[in-house]
């Protein structure tokens, strides 16, 4: 009697444990269901993200190429500007040399003038006219002003040349951006490949609750109306006892 009571207690204890498991299972199940539904809903979103990343990744080489084109174009344009500046500088230099030659010739002219003056000494009228002529035909001051202007233009042209260092600096900055784009591209390409190979859509997109024997959980398990459920079980057991061996019954509890 006492042994039977102990056994019964043990059985009731196990039944309580089972009840607890059922309770927990019933609480967890809706969460799991929601999670699976969520995964089903998020798959199209992930697919969209994947498509967007793929599109962006495909665009990156084009962007990188365009940046390289910008660098080449600015370098070409800079070279053309440098050519023009060099040409202007050379022409300014030619003008400067021409003025120097004119000023040298003026000196020769003055020497000749002084010789002429010596030959007409005593003829005041001729001397007066020659001095007037010398005053009119002397452009030294004007040429000196022109030289100053030319020097300023030449200096400004050189400043333009020095300012063009900006092309080298910006091309280096663009190269840095390009390098960054290439790094991002490499990583995104890797990411896209990983997403594709993980076959998320296949894994989760078609996921739904299955009542198949292959699953080791019961999708329909519920703690609600448990008494009615138990009755159904009991009835099945009763029916099985009539037609099946104990071994088969034991399997039902295993």
């Amino acid at each position: 009697m006492s042994i039977q009571t102990e056994n019964m207690k043990e059985i009731f204890g196990k039944i309580d444990d089972l009840k607890a498991v059922f309770k927990v299972g019933e609480r967890i199940l809706p969460i799991l269901t929601s999670l699976i539904d969520f995964m089903g809903e998020i798959i199209p979103l992930l697919e969209n993200i994947n498509t967007s990343i793929s599109d962006s990744t495909n665009q990156m080489p084009k962007v990188s190429n365009q940046i390289n084109n910008v660098t080449s174009a600015t370098e070409l344009a800079t070279t053309e500007i440098l050519d023009l500046v060099d040409e202007i500088s050379n022409e300014l230099n030619d003008i400067e040399q021409a003025i120097t030659k004119i000023l040298e010739l003026n000196q020769t002219r003055d020497d000749k003038f002084n010789e002429i003056i010596k030959h007409v000494e005593g003829n005041d009228k001729v001397i007066e006219l020659l001095n007037e002529y010398k005053t009119i035909s002397t452009y030294d001051d004007t040429f000196n002003i022109v030289r100053e202007v030319l020097a300023k233009i030449s200096n400004d042209a050189f400043k333009i040349t020095m300012s063009l260092q900006v092309q080298d600096i910006t091309s280096q900055q663009l190269s840095a951006v390009n390098h960054l784009i290439e790094s991002v591209n490499t990583r995104l390409t890797g990411l896209v490949k990983e997403i594709d190979s993980s076959d998320l859509k296949k894994e989760f997109g078609s996921m739904k609750w299955e009542d198949s024997e292959s699953t080791h959980f019961d999708g329909n398990a519920s703690y609600i109306d448990r008494e009615h459920k138990q009755q159904e079980v009991d009835q099945i057991i009763s029916d099985q006892k009539q037609v099946a061996s104990q071994e088969e019954i034991d399997k039902l509890f295993s």
Binding site: E75, T79, L82, D86, S163, L164, Q165, D168, Q172
Partner: protein, 126 residues
């Protein structure tokens, strides 16, 4: 001693600018190279080159590597080297000094700065 410069820069623009700057300073004997390796070839082919002005960031061989190669060469070891680069942080400058460049100019530079640094290098080596 007549100076013959080797201007090393991968940027055509910068080579021309350095070249033009040297001309305004009265130095007309200039050879150009587009990277460190090209520079070493030019140095090997032309023993009259006696001053190197080099950029840092270049493909194939950087200016820093070029400096190290020059310093490691028995014939070229004492070649004056002026680094002209956009890299201006302290660590870079220290690194360039460790590579034994003679002086350092940060881009964008002015002809005055270039002249000042050239004069300093020339004063130190003479």
């Amino acid at each position: 001693m007549e100076l013959k410069f080797l201007v090393v820069d991968d940027s055509v623009t910068m080579r021309r600018i350095v070249n033009n700057s040297l001309k305004t300073l009265g130095y007309t004997n200039v050879v150009e190279a587009s990277d460190g390796k090209d520079a070493l070839s030019k140095l090997a082919a032309d023993s009259s080159i006696n001053f190197v002005i080099t950029d840092w960031n270049m493909p194939v061989m950087s200016g820093l590597e070029l400096s190290q190669a020059i310093r490691g060469d028995a014939k070229l070891g004492n070649m004056p080297i002026l680094m002209v680069t956009t890299r201006g942080v302290k660590e870079d400058i220290v690194q360039a000094l460790q590579a034994k460049v003679n002086n350092y100019v940060v881009k964008p530079f002015t002809p005055q700065v270039l002249k000042e640094k050239l004069d300093q290098v020339l004063a130190n080596i003479s």
